[in-house]
């Protein structure tokens, strides 16, 4: 199964207002090509996608929050799964695009190429709705369930290494991504986030 085909299936199912948080690496470039939006928070550094997603999902419980994670990315900070589970979130679809390697870091094998099973680990952390998808139909079905039902869904999509050719270059850095996302939340949630002068004092 190709990662890009999974992401394409997800993009077709997704509400335009759904918040999507991605790790850094090929996943964010593919997702940006499929759904360019200020509702995306792209390029969250290694090990932190689930943690940032936890903060967003707890803060905006009425919004759908999707995390697009990688196997190496999640393995670096597995305790995030336990902390996510303990919040009993009803608005989370956490997808791990598991290519069993550190593709963005040169392609060496990750622990899921060996004995580690992230769906079993997630269930052990307390995330009951954890599943594995090995083809696009299974992935689409699992993603649809996660997007249409309240709850905390976790999907491990077993994908091949390799991306697609001719992806648009991602031209924004974290600072610009921060401003775009914060302004989007300000507009859609009627809150003020960015303050050149914090006048609360």
């Amino acid at each position: 199964m190709k990662r890009f085909d999974c992401l394409k299936a997800l993009a077709e199912l997704l509400d335009p207002k759904a918040i999507v948080i991605t790790n850094v690496g090929p996943i964010c470039r593919e997702w940006n090509a499929l759904r360019p939006s200020d509702a995306n928070l792209l390029q969250v550094n290694l090990g932190l996608c689930a943690a940032v997603g936890l903060g967003v999902a707890v803060s905006l419980p009425h919004r759908q929050v999707v995390m697009l994670d990688g196997d190496g990315n999640l393995l670096l900070n597995l305790a995030s799964l336990a902390d996510l589970a303990n919040q009993n979130l009803q608005n989370v679809l956490h997808i791990v695009l598991d290519n069993e390697s550190y593709e963005g870091g040169g392609g060496l094998k990750s622990a899921t190429a060996g004995k580690a099973d992230l769906a079993t680990i997630a269930r052990g952390a307390g995330i009951e709705k954890a599943s594995i998808a090995t083809n696009v139909d299974e992935f689409r079905s699992a993603a649809r369930a996660g997007l249409t039902n309240a709850g905390h869904y976790f999907i491990v999509a077993k994908v091949e290494k390799g991306s697609v050719s001719k992806l648009p270059t991602l031209t924004i850095d974290g600072k610009e991504g921060k401003y775009r996302f914060a302004r989007y939340i300000e507009t859609t949630e009627n809150v003020q986030i960015l303050r050149p002068r914090y006048t609360h004092i």
Partner: protein, 166 residues
């Protein structure tokens, strides 16, 4: 921590508009942690390591909350990774409250190394800080740190020492 210090911290957090707290359970802040966990004013997200806490607070701030992260002294070293890869790289605010174990007067040998790491680490992380040793100074220090971290969009820390963590 004594009751007066805990009251001052909670008062300062509320005055500063903080409505979201993440923390790694820690002996020095245990009574404070119980207090904020049971106060409905705060959205409370305990975490299993301080790096997750930085990520959680970053996500909360980007979603319109006013977070604070309570960081055990040694945990600042764990938090250093996302304080660099998120806060420094993206320009994100982060209000940090840190018990300053290992400061002069701390008699426990195992805390000694943190005198060498805590302040230098905050400096290289581009995170200004106040060192507060008197209970009466706590609340205003938190309010000031909150104003600065949001305005400057970089982490600002309050290090609690002396009578504030007795």
């Amino acid at each position: 921590m004594e009751a007066a210090a805990i009251d001052a911290v909670v008062d300062g957090l509320k005055q500063a508009g903080v409505d979201f707290i993440s923390l790694m359970p820690d002996s020095d802040f245990s009574l404070l942690q119980e207090r904020v966990a049971n106060d409905p004013h705060f959205t409370y997200v305990p975490v299993s390591n301080e790096a997750i806490g930085v990520g959680v607070c970053a996500g909360a701030w980007l979603s319109g909350k006013r977070p604070a992260l309570l960081v055990p002294t040694s945990g600042l070293l764990v938090a250093a990774w996302p304080l660099t890869s998120l806060c420094m790289a993206w320009g994100l605010p982060m209000l940090l409250l840190i018990p300053y174990r290992g400061d002069i007067g701390d008699a426990f040998w195992l805390m000694g190394p943190y005198k060498d790491t805590t302040e230098p680490l905050l400096k290289v992380l581009n995170a200004p800080y106040s060192v507060i040793s008197r209970n009466e100074e706590i609340s205003q220090a938190i309010v000031d740190a909150q104003g600065s971290t949001i305005s400057w969009q970089r982490p600002v820390a309050v290090l609690l020492t002396g009578e504030t963590i007795k």
